[in-house]
């Protein structure tokens, strides 16, 4: 059980990190596309309050662009934490989705706290023995319990909603399986936390061992070891699974906003975009319709400057 727990935990974490990294690389390496922004664009500053843009300015290309980082942050942070778009446009679903997502954040936060405690305990034991350690140890079970309860309630709510029309009609079997996976993993973790590991001591010990690469058996015996280990295995498998599915939208959403919805950077003559565009215009075209007759050798530049139907 000990070896299996550590193996799955390490593998799960590695797959999560690698899969997320691959997703980030995939989205960031995609070719430039034509502009397709959607207003309001958060970094427009004061204009963002009503959805305005720099295109409201005459001769905008002669003026410096104002980029409001605060505008982006004040849109992104509430969106990430509280799912404000969903609350505004689909409050029924938000009542399930918000606890689910916030529960996930808290569980992730709790795990990070346990990892920090493990690192500090190994390399700066004095810190963990002092008030900082006391606060961290007090926070871990509070955040952990809250996260598991919210996550479970949210996942169960989403599962119930997923089985109703119209969502059911648009879902694949795996959409249901995904939510069942969450419900199972959170249920086991919550039962473990409520019955044998109320102070999160066992799971903290496990995380501490993981971050210090100390593959040692957990303290205690029977259910005190088996249940935290089983919970950790299931949660690690879930962590590895998420980025392999469309649930990786936490990565995609960043690019959906920054690379598409808010991507209003103009292509100024002689600017950095022109070279990229010229390269793209030299891509071969193979569209077969009579008005294009792309043969794989003609480029976008060729087809944009000819008209075979004339």
């Amino acid at each position: 059980m000990t070896i299996l727990t550590y193996l799955v935990a390490y593998c799960g974490t590695a797959i999560l990190i690698v899969a997320v990294a691959i997703r980030i690389l995939m989205w960031s390496r995609m070719p430039m596309h034509v502009r397709w922004e959607l207003y309001p664009v958060a970094h427009e500053g004061a204009k963002a309050s009503y959805g305005g843009s720099y295109l409201e300015e005459s001769e905008w290309w002669t003026k410096p662009r104002h980029f409001s980082l605060w505008g982006e942050l004040s849109a992104m942070v509430p969106e990430i934490l509280f799912l404000v778009a969903l609350k505004e446009h689909n409050p029924k679903l938000w009542s399930r989705s918000f606890p689910f997502h916030f529960g996930l954040y808290l569980v992730a936060g709790c795990t990070i706290l346990m990892a920090v405690a493990g690192v500090l305990g190994a390399w700066l034991p004095g810190v963990m023995a002092g008030p900082v350690g006391t606060v961290i140890r007090a926070l871990i079970p509070v955040i952990g319990h809250a996260g598991l309860v919210l996550g479970l309630v949210g996942a169960a709510g989403l599962l119930q909603r997923r089985r109703q029309r119209p969502l059911r009609d648009y879902s694949a079997p795996m959409d249901t399986v995904n939510l069942v996976f969450f419900v199972a993993a959170f249920s086991l973790a919550l039962v473990t936390a409520v019955t044998v590991d109320r102070r999160f001591a066992a799971v903290s010990e496990l995380v501490s061992n993981l971050v210090t690469f100390n593959v040692a058996p957990l303290s205690g015996a029977g259910a005190q070891v088996v249940m935290p280990s089983a919970s950790a295995i299931l949660l690690a498998m879930l962590a590895a699974y998420i980025p392999l599915t469309h649930m990786s939208h936490f990565v995609g959403k960043y690019f959906a906003y920054h690379a598409i919805r808010w991507a209003d950077e103009p292509n100024l003559r002689g600017g950095k975009q022109e070279k990229v565009i010229e390269d793209l215009l030299n891509q071969p075209v193979s569209w077969s319709a009579p008005h294009i007759r792309g043969d794989g050798t003609k480029t976008w530049l060729d087809v944009a400057t000819e008209d075979p139907e004339r």
């Binding site: 207003y39 959403k253 565009i277 077969s288 944009a304």
Partner: protein, 534 residues
């Protein structure tokens, strides 16, 4: 109401409509059009059309002929799959690859977008018109037949010629207004997917509505304008408009043509020249009064700002954009200014921004912004009392939600309309509803498509117009002005007012923005807006 029972119905019930909407299925309009039994009916599709073309619902936009042999059926499916595959390559679709992948990968099927769609809502929530209905079918076809993924993961769908033909038809049941995309918590864009389906049909299969392709972008590239106007004809028409405008305003104007070295190349939607000549006449009056250095171009395609490719075909889009920019380059102007046409604004200013490079990369600016600057400059004196009638403003999606041009048109109205006479629709600005003519619908009226359009796509805007004027007497002798600074929107609003006879029955009139300016010009004779139904 007839509606599909499931996504898989798209491949079933061959030759039968999957959906039919009648006025009885719809929420009544506000008074005086609140009697469902007095609504004009949606005329049924003819039996001949049903027999000849693929049938999706109770209308036809694209005219896809039914294959005659099994071989033709297979060829249609193969061509669609071939196009679908090309959509996901950098070479053939760098233009939209990232937005496409994003929308294909990350939809949570939460249906948050549905209530944002005016077509779905006004259809009485008919499943066929749910924004995700077509998106999910496209997604399932892609993952099952191109990526060969398990239907357990991405859902199952059957693929036959009817699926392909109906999906293409269904892509023309969306206004591409992107209101649904605005509400998506993840950033999925169903309108984009509609457009990508249209691209497969046009760019790979050679299938597109005649009004957009053969009579649209092809005609524009061949003779200069989708209206059929040649350079000679357009110059003649503008000369007549100049004379007529001078007679109406008492201010002499002469539109300059092909002036090398002018500051501004003004491009109108040529539909204005044909259907609303007071609009280019008003532009010329204001530009001359402001003392601008400007010109129009008689080069092929450069006197018609339309770019229908923006609705269905990236190649046709690029060709028209290059023509527009090349005309500006030839004249050596400092900037291109686009008249009151929403899709032309977005096409040339935003989308073509990553198509035009080097000496074709000539700055583009909205005509609304320039008009706002003229108002601010104080070069023209306005008498607001000449516009002493109720006014509301329609926000063209392309100009507002998709470009962020929101405040200038309001600033102009504030300067030429008396306080208390202007009222906003609800919602407005970037949350506006499409006029119902978006994505080419305003110029599409084959079979009974116009009936379908008025009852489904244009109904929400008409509802908004009626709602915003409810505190005014709804009679012919109490005229009310819907300001629509976009040629396509104006065409759609004209059509729906005509359909419900709302000018005669409720005194609802429509027009552009620059007309309100000239109507209030102190130096012009009063009465530029003549309240005559054209």
């Amino acid at each position: 109401m007839k509606k599909p029972g499931s996504l898989r119905d798209i491949a079933r019930k061959q030759g039968q409509p999957l959906a039919q909407v009648t006025p009885a299925d719809q929420v009544p309009l506000p008074p005086p059009f609140d009697r469902i039994d007095e609504e004009p009916p949606i005329r049924p599709l003819s039996d001949a059309a049903r027999a000849k073309y693929a049938v999706l619902d109770d209308t036809i936009a694209v005219n896809i002929e039914r294959p005659k042999t099994g071989e033709e059926e297979r060829a249609m499916v193969d061509a669609f799959l071939s196009g679908l595959e090309k959509l996901f390559t950098v070479e053939d679709n760098w233009t939209f690859l990232q937005p496409l992948e994003m929308s294909m990968e990350h939809c949570a099927r939460c249906q948050t977008c549905s209530e944002a769609c005016h077509i779905f809502e006004e259809s009485g929530s008919n499943e066929l018109y749910r924004p995700t209905y077509r998106s999910e079918i496209l997604r399932r076809i892609y993952f099952k037949y191109v990526k060969k993924a398990s239907p357990l993961v991405h859902g199952d769908i059957d693929l036959n010629w009817e699926t392909v033909a109906r999906l293409i038809e269904l892509s023309y049941r969306c206004n591409l207004c992107r209101r649904c995309a605005q509400t998506c918590p993840i950033g999925v864009d169903n309108a984009l997917l509609s457009r990508e389906i249209r691209k497969i049909a046009s760019q790979e299969m050679g299938i597109a509505p005649r009004e957009l392709h053969k009579d649209g972008s092809v005609l524009q590239l061949a003779v200069g304008s989708s209206t059929g106007m040649t350079p000679l004809v357009v110059k003649d028409n503008i000369e007549f408009i100049d004379e007529d405008t001078a007679e109406r305003t008492g201010i002499s104007v002469k539109t300059p043509w092909d002036v090398v070295g002018a500051d501004i190349l003004l491009i109108h939607n040529a539909g204005e020249i044909m259907s609303w000549p007071e609009n280019p006449g008003a532009f010329a009056t204001v530009f001359e009064a402001a003392g601008l250095s400007w010109t129009m171009s008689s080069e092929i395609a450069a006197y018609d700002a339309i770019n229908y490719g923006v609705w269905y075909d990236d190649v046709q889009f690029a060709r028209v954009a290059v023509h527009h920019a090349a005309a500006a380059r030839k004249l050596g102007v400092k900037k291109i200014v686009i008249g009151e046409c929403g899709h032309a604004h977005k096409a040339l200013t935003v989308i073509a921004d990553r198509v035009l490079t080097g000496d074709l990369n000539i700055p583009r600016e909205s005509g609304i912004v320039l008009l706002r600057d003229i108002v601010r400059s104080g070069k023209i004196a306005f008498d607001k009392s000449r516009n002493d009638f109720p006014v509301t403003l329609h926000d063209p999606c392309n100009m507002v939600r998709l470009m962020g041009i929101v405040a200038p048109q309001r600033e102009i109205i504030d300067s030429v309309v008396p306080k208390g006479r202007f009222r906003e629709m609800a919602p407005h600005g970037v949350d506006n509803y499409c006029c119902g003519g978006g994505s080419g619908f305003a110029i599409m009226s084959g079979h009974n498509f116009a009936d379908w359009r008025h009852h489904l796509t244009g109904r929400r805007k008409f509802r908004q117009i009626l709602e915003v004027f409810q505190d005014e007497p709804m009679t012919r002798d109490h005229p009310k002005y819907v300001c629509a600074p976009c040629s396509n929107c104006k065409g759609q609003i004209r059509d729906i007012i005509t359909y419900y006879d709302a000018w005669e029955k409720a005194g609802i009139f429509y027009g552009g923005l620059v007309e309100l300016m000239v109507n209030a010009m102190v130096d012009a004779k009063p009465g530029f807006i003549d309240w005559e139904w054209h």
